[in-house]
């Protein structure tokens, strides 16, 4: 469904030059949930931004469904099929637009028609009571706002969802609800996910395959099973796994910078 080959991007010039992605390559099958995990600044969001077309000065190859995706010129159909959900649902929703307006806007842009029915349907699908339809983002809780952001992505009937830390700003009880929702939708709609998170447990819960990034590079690709049996080959992955298990005074002295 999705192929990324030797993706590179450099930000800035001269002293401020930052080679933020170095030969990042991976492929995602249709219907797969692909996990990308790493610490902050490792380049996870940048990978998604390149795929989504939010960044354009990359080099390498990106293919969706066997077709090369151009850096700049992309058919409008691409922007319907590939949708992104961000970490901060507050920042990504227009503060002065009602939920109804926020959801109808993409429908209008892509001329899908049937706006009213689509909004009603998608609100139901993400588990939001119809009474929220004419409210504003600030009148919703963090979890409800993230449901709206997911609804906005779903309303275009996409095939690929790029999920950038979709639950990192939420309380754990709300995170559980949103993760369940994401799993249900993927099953029902046979969607393909790329899920980005700094949280190893979230990624291993949601994804069969986990790719670990550090400083713009892929350091290891492992399956959920390998992760669970505690046998990652890579030292950095091992450290990340150890750190995810909680506080252990002795273990911390062995931490290294990678």
């Amino acid at each position: 469904m999705l192929l990324v080959d030797k993706l590179n991007i450099i930000f800035g010039h001269g002293k401020a030059k930052n080679h933020a992605l170095k030969d990042v390559s991976f492929s995602v099958k249709k219907g797969e949930s692909f996990g990308l995990v790493g610490e902050s600044g490792s380049g996870k969001s940048t990978v998604l931004n390149c795929i989504a077309g939010l960044l354009q000065n990359w080099t390498g190859l990106i293919e969706v469904d066997g077709k090369t995706v151009h850096r700049r010129k992309r058919p409008i159909e691409f922007y319907r099929r590939v949708q992104m959900v961000f970490q901060d649902p507050y920042g990504s929703l227009h503060p002065r637009h009602t939920i109804d307006k926020t959801l109808k806007e993409p429908v209008a842009i892509h001329r899908l028609g049937n706006g009213n029915d689509r909004v009603a349907q998608v609100l139901k699908e993400v588990g939001l009571d119809p009474k929220f339809r004419f409210r504003f983002p600030h009148q919703l809780s963090g979890g409800q706002r993230q449901r709206v952001a997911i609804a906005r992505a779903l309303i275009l009937e996409p095939e690929v969802l790029l999920l950038d830390e979709p639950t990192s700003a939420l309380d754990v009880s709300i995170q559980a609800e949103v993760l369940n929702l994401l799993q249900d939708i993927r099953e029902q709609r046979n969607l393909t996910y790329i899920l980005v998170s700094h949280n190893l447990a979230v990624v291993s819960h949601m994804c069969e395959n986990v790719t670990v990034m550090n400083r713009g590079q892929i350091v290891e690709k492992i399956t959920k099973q390998q992760l669970q049996q505690d046998t990652p080959q890579n030292q950095y992955t091992r450290q990340l796994l150890l750190a995810s298990r909680g506080y252990d005074r002795q273990a911390i002295d062995q931490f290294k910078e990678y």
């Binding site: 754990v172 559980a176 979230v202 750190a243 909680g246």
Partner: protein, 294 residues
């Protein structure tokens, strides 16, 4: 662990007046601690920060605080004047906040700010204060204290910024440190390294530590005891070692809804909230009263 009592909070109630009706941010909060690490855990809005701030009288003036006592080293902080509270703050009890960038003065070097935190409470020579500052920077595992001394807050990473904050808060050698989500913005490995620094300082100095966090598993692995808050109330106070055997439905709900590396991909159990959790008698009944209340 907690041989000597340091702080006792009895029946703390905090209300914020609002046009839509008063918000009860804390209700009947009571706990005590000695020279130990105690965690306050709960979801956002559960009243963790207001509880920490109330101890140091750092809430905004419109907050209505009603409390039986906040006894620190035998002295009831509620009876102290504002001037006397300034002596307590920093010197006796320090507070570290989540984001160091907001707590540090952007136009002064970090070295100056740490040094000032020391000299404000002590009459010492400039030279002695500087030495002490460099020592403190080394104590929080900063490898090149002399260079870092001259940096401005925007020139340091998140992890280093938080170490600097801790250095600043600990240099007056307080007996109690209140750390409000001190590492929540940091990567998990850095987070643990910062906690290890706090841990070592608690041990070597015999300090008390209140760690406020939303991360139940982290707190349980780090602290001696855990206070679990919900809706401004304490649900239970439990020894960290016993947390996974907790029978309180809220604690169980929080633990169960976490995705686990070892777990399958089945649906996560969701938390079903119960209005009775906010009933004081309910929590006493569930946890059998004063199990681990120090």
């Amino acid at each position: 662990m907690n041989t000597e009592n340091l702080l006792t909070v009895t029946n703390l109630n905090i209300t914020f007046p609002s046009p839509k009706g008063d918000v009860s941010a804390a209700c009947g909060v009571s706990f005590s601690l000695g020279k130990e690490k105690i965690g306050i855990v709960g979801e956002s809005g559960s009243g963790k920060s207001v509880t920490g701030r109330a101890i140091l009288r750092l809430l905004p003036p419109y907050a209505q605080v009603v409390c039986d006592e906040i006894r620190f080293k035998g002295e009831d902080l509620l009876t102290l004047s504002e001037k006397e509270m300034r002596r307590i703050r920093g010197k006796e009890i320090s507070m570290v906040m989540q984001d160091p960038k907001y707590s540090l003065n952007p136009v002064r070097t970090v070295g100056h700010q740490i040094m000032e935190a020391y000299t404000i409470h002590r009459r010492v020579s400039q030279k002695e204060a500087k030495e002490k500052t460099l020592e403190m920077l080394a104590a929080v595992q900063i490898r090149n204290p002399k260079q870092v001394y001259n940096l401005y807050p925007h020139e340091v990473s998140g992890g280093m910024g938080q170490r600097i904050m801790i250095a600043m808060m600990l240099i007056p050698e307080p007996s109690l440190l209140i750390a409000d989500e001190p590492t929540s913005a940091l990567d998990v490995t850095v987070q643990l390294q910062v906690l290890a620094i706090l841990d070592d300082l608690v041990t070597t100095r015999g300090m008390g530590l209140i760690l406020i966090s939303h991360d139940l598993e982290l707190v349980a692995s780090f602290c001696d005891r855990v206070i679990i808050m919900y809706g401004g109330r304490i649900m239970e106070t439990i020894n960290a070692a016993d947390l996974h055997d907790s029978t309180h439905p809220y604690t169980r709900g929080l633990l169960n809804c976490l995705p686990k590396i070892e777990g399958g991909s089945t649906r996560l159990p969701v938390l079903k909230r119960d209005a009775s959790w906010l009933d004081a008698h309910y929590n006493q009944h569930i946890t059998g009263g004063s199990d681990a209340s120090g």
